[in-house]
């Protein structure tokens, strides 16, 4: 019996791999396994090799694995491109239709199952995916009934006949594999899951759910990979709560519409990826200058320019921090787990209202799209804090507007929403006085600039860093952000097995950077490895700038479009130290 394995299904884009993967993994979730998925896809709709990889474990996991146990192939290309990933003794289950071949002497088993033929016999070749699911289920010796129940949920709306046909395909695939393999083998038999069904969710959905819980009722956005799932989730939910999603003409409209709606008093979100963030830069300054809250999600993908639109990268960190001309208060968060995607989405809205400034919530493609099981989300942790807000206002002195930008110790001034009696004020991207009226007076300029920037001094985030800090004299401190957390953890455990003492820090508050907190962690380690998916070491730069440690920091950078893998990271770090 084994406690974890990796399964991959590959074929041509548009062949229905997504639904196959969904049915198989939903069933695994029902059985109580921890799951972590990875989508390899290209910027095209039909055609081209695509694959979905899923890691199945009886223990919590937050990374894909370096190798593969089972490869399900719908074409020879899938085998050619992926067989090297298979571990010694791994299995290929392939459609007999294309006469699948493994290279001579390759140490893996090949089971040719007539996916297409069985499906056609049952009515349509479309069901070849279900035959593959059945065969996989047999190999892992999983109860086939659970799969059939998921099929019923998935296809129930299409009628019992469709459900029955799909389940027949699953049964045939199941039986066929048992037949040719001579029954389940211990090698692939998974220890039973704990029976707890977890949330099985992608980061973008967790962010969307967080937004709904935080009271976000409008979203304006322009479609882009890998952010679109956020708007697709919210368009299903917000109309039921009185709100809506507007698909705008571009990202400039998306962010300025969000600013207008936030000014109007509704928590409003926009989400994009790097190219959209670049277009939003001027408006981000407007939010900062007019002290209008706005939450912007940037799901990072490979840059620059169009870059690698469907691949992993973490290279917008500097753009998120520094993007926009002039100087404004701004907060940048970067969750590193699926659960944090949810909680940080809620917190982003609170911070935006509390500090009346733009909040950028960063994710990366793997965190945004990698489907994984999540621990329960604690609703009691969801609080809504609208910050300094007046719903009623006393009459103003003659010829005076409401002092929306009143100088205050914290820099935060009380907000009113348009429509409030006696609350009329002016709002402008031009430098202005306490009532919002344009002013070029030098003393006012300095005071107003100081007031806005002062807000950053008091930014309070519950956990600016997430530290696993067991040692005061660690040999290595690993620092990362975003989806690299789980991979770092596995690599770190290998170092621990080698007898090294390791600590780990995931930086959650990217800006204003928690320099003191990170410095305290640097002090507890002899060497520091900063792990990030970009070419220049943007996080490492931030650390040296705000926390020091230049002499002991090494940069572990990967920018080929793929996420770090645990063994690979371990081996590369070994070379680095």
């Amino acid at each position: 019996m084994i406690s974890q394995l990796s399964w991959k299904i590959g074929g041509q884009q548009g062949e229905g791999l997504e639904s196959t993967d969904r049915i198989f993994s939903t069933a695994l979730n029902r059985l109580g396994y921890h799951l972590y998925g990875y989508r390899h896809f290209s910027s095209r709709i039909k055609g081209g090799h695509t694959n979905n990889k899923i890691r199945i474990s009886t223990q919590p996991i937050r990374a894909i694995s370096d190798n593969l146990d089972i490869l399900v192939a719908f074409d020879q290309e899938t085998i050619d491109l992926n067989h090297k990933e298979l571990r010694n003794g791994g299995v290929v289950i392939a459609d007999a239709k294309f006469d699948p071949k493994l290279p001579e002497g390759f140490p893996a088993k090949l089971y040719a199952v007539p996916f297409t033929a069985i499906a056609e016999e049952l009515g349509t070749s479309l069901m070849k995916n279900m035959v593959a699911v059945g065969a996989s289920t047999a190999l892992l010796d999983l109860p086939v009934d659970i799969i059939k129940k998921v099929v019923e949920e998935e296809f129930g709306r299409k009628g019992q006949a469709v459900v029955d046909k799909n389940n027949a395909a699953i049964q045939k695939g199941f039986e066929y594999l048992l037949d040719i393999s001579g029954g389940p083998s211990e090698e692939f038999k998974l220890e039973p899951g704990d029976g707890t069904t977890r949330l099985f969710i992608i980061g973008n959905e967790a962010i969307g759910l967080g937004a709904v819980a935080a009271g976000c009722r409008l979203m304006s956005a322009y479609p882009i990979t890998p952010a679109s799932e956020i708007m697709e989730y919210l368009i299903k939910k917000l109309p039921k709560l009185g709100g809506t999603v507007v698909q705008t003409e571009d990202e400039i409209a998306a962010v300025t519409m969000a600013i207008g709606a936030n000014y109007g008093g509704v928590r409003t979100l926009t989400a994009s990826a790097g190219p959209g963030l670049s277009l939003m830069m001027e408006a981000i300054g407007l939010s900062g200058m007019t002290e209008t809250p706005v939450v912007i999600v940037d799901t990072m993908r490979g840059g620059p320019s169009t870059g690698l639109p469907t691949k992993q990268e973490q290279s917008d960190v500097n753009a998120a921090i520094y993007g926009t001309h002039g100087e404004i208060p701004k907060i940048v968060l970067f969750p590193s787990t699926i659960e944090e995607c949810f909680y940080d989405s809620v917190e982003a809205f609170n911070l935006a209202d509390q500090y009346q400034c733009p909040v950028i919530l960063l994710t990366d493609l793997q965190l945004s799209l990698g489907k994984q099981t999540s621990e329960p989300l604690d609703f009691s942790r969801v609080t809504i804090d609208r910050g300094a807000l007046a719903l009623e206002v006393e009459p103003q002195p003659e010829n005076q507007l409401f002092k929306r930008y009143a100088f205050s110790e914290s820099g935060v001034s009380t907000r009113v929403f348009p429509g409030t009696k006696n609350g009329i004020f002016h709002s402008t991207g031009v430098e202005h006085d306490e009532q919002g009226r344009p002013s070029e007076a030098t003393t006012n300029r300095k005071k107003m600039m100081d007031k806005r920037m002062r807000k950053m001094e008091s930014v309070k985030v519950t956990n600016p860093i997430v530290a696993i800090s067991k040692y005061d004299d660690a040999d290595i401190l690993f620092v990362g952000m975003g989806s690299t957390g789980g991979t770092i953890e596995e690599a770190r455990k290998q170092f621990e097995a080698d007898g090294l003492k390791t600590n780990q820090v995931m930086v959650r508050l990217i800006h204003p950077f928690p320099g003191a907190e990170v410095a305290a962690q640097l002090d507890k380690a002899k060497k520091v490895i900063v792990v990030e998916n970009n070419a220049t070491g943007q996080l490492a730069d931030l650390i040296t700038l705000h926390a020091g440690g230049r002499e002991k920091i090494k940069r572990m950078l990967k920018y080929d479009g793929n996420p770090f893998l645990p063994n690979e990271l371990y081996n590369d770090c070994k070379e680095l130290i």
Binding site: L209, L218, P239, I252, T256, N262, G419, N422, T428, G429
Partner: protein
């Protein structure tokens, strides 16, 4: 009930003496009072340029945004609180050059915002460069030998984009200007009002006299039917775009807000945003 004086504030506009924008300011103030709004029920969102300053010159909620972006800000505000009267405003450079993408799509989207373009056919605040509205051959600092681009016809553009309310006026005709703004504010949907608002400093061609000689009111056409799009387009072409008054209005087409499923009359900003545990649990259960 508020009068137009209640929509005045004590801020002195930084426009040149004689600027057409003064009349637009007065007409907006009158129209707001005529429709029956109180100052706090009105929000004026503007872009950048001389005309963009108008949001600070009216006693109402004012949001002076960035160049070309008054429309998305205004639409966001309207969706946030549909009980507000939202006016967007700016110049021809703001709306027809840098912001043209938003103008076309705001027209298509048909959110209930009244958009007033102060059209002086030149860039004033940057001291005299060509605009999409400048005539061919028009000499400016950026077109020293005369503009070689085609002049944009905002009315044709709006009709083609599916506008439900298109009007044009001239800033000296305060009565007509007030009337079309009032009609635009009463219109349920997006209204585009292009106003000839001469720049007395940088445009020595399209002067008050120049416009006076050329504008033609819809009142002068026998049997003009503003609900007839074909007729509207024909008259726009016949008058070389100098037609004034309500050029076209489609009262049948519902606004964006009216078509949104689940969108309520009460402003979204006023609604309860807290989920119940039960609602949350149901949302979570979808991921099991």
């Amino acid at each position: 009930m508020a009068t137009f004086k209640d929509f005045r504030n004590n801020i002195k506009p930084n426009w040149c003496p004689g600027c057409g924008d003064f009349s637009v300011q007065a007409a907006i103030q009158r129209a707001c009072a005529n429709v029956g709004y109180e100052p706090e029920q009105v929000a004026v969102v503007s872009g950048i340029g001389c005309s963009g300053r108008i949001s600070g010159y009216i006693n109402a909620y004012g949001f002076h945004s960035i160049h070309g972006r008054s429309l998305p800000v205004a639409q966001g505000l309207k969706l946030a609180n549909r009980e507000l009267a939202v006016i967007a405003s700016g110049g021809d450079g703001d709306g027809f050059a840098i912001g043209m993408g938003h103008t076309v799509h705001a027209i298509r989207r048909n959110i209930d915002v009244t958009y007033i373009v102060m059209d002086n056919q030149i860039y004033g605040l940057t001291k005299g460069q060509t605009s999409p509205r400048s005539a061919s051959g028009f000499k400016t600092k950026s077109t020293p030998t005369g503009s070689i681009e085609t002049t944009l016809s905002p009315l044709e553009m709006a009709l083609a984009a599916g506008a439900t309310f298109v009007a044009q006026s001239f800033s000296t005709d305060l009565k007509q200007l007030t009337a079309v703004i009032e009609a635009g504010m009463n219109h349920k949907g997006f209204s585009l009002i292009n106003v000839f608002s001469p720049c007395v400093t940088f445009n020595k061609v399209n002067t008050y006299e120049w416009f006076k000689e050329r504008v033609v009111s819809t009142d002068s056409f026998d049997g003009y039917d503003a609900s007839n799009k074909m007729m509207a387009m024909q008259k726009v072409l016949e008058t070389d775009g100098m037609i004034t008054g309500i050029v076209y209005q489609n009262k049948e087409k519902p606004s964006y807000e009216q078509q949104l499923p689940g969108f309520q009359e009460i402003g979204l900003a006023k609604q309860n945003i807290t989920l119940t545990k039960d609602q949350f649990d149901k949302l979570v259960a979808e991921f099991n």
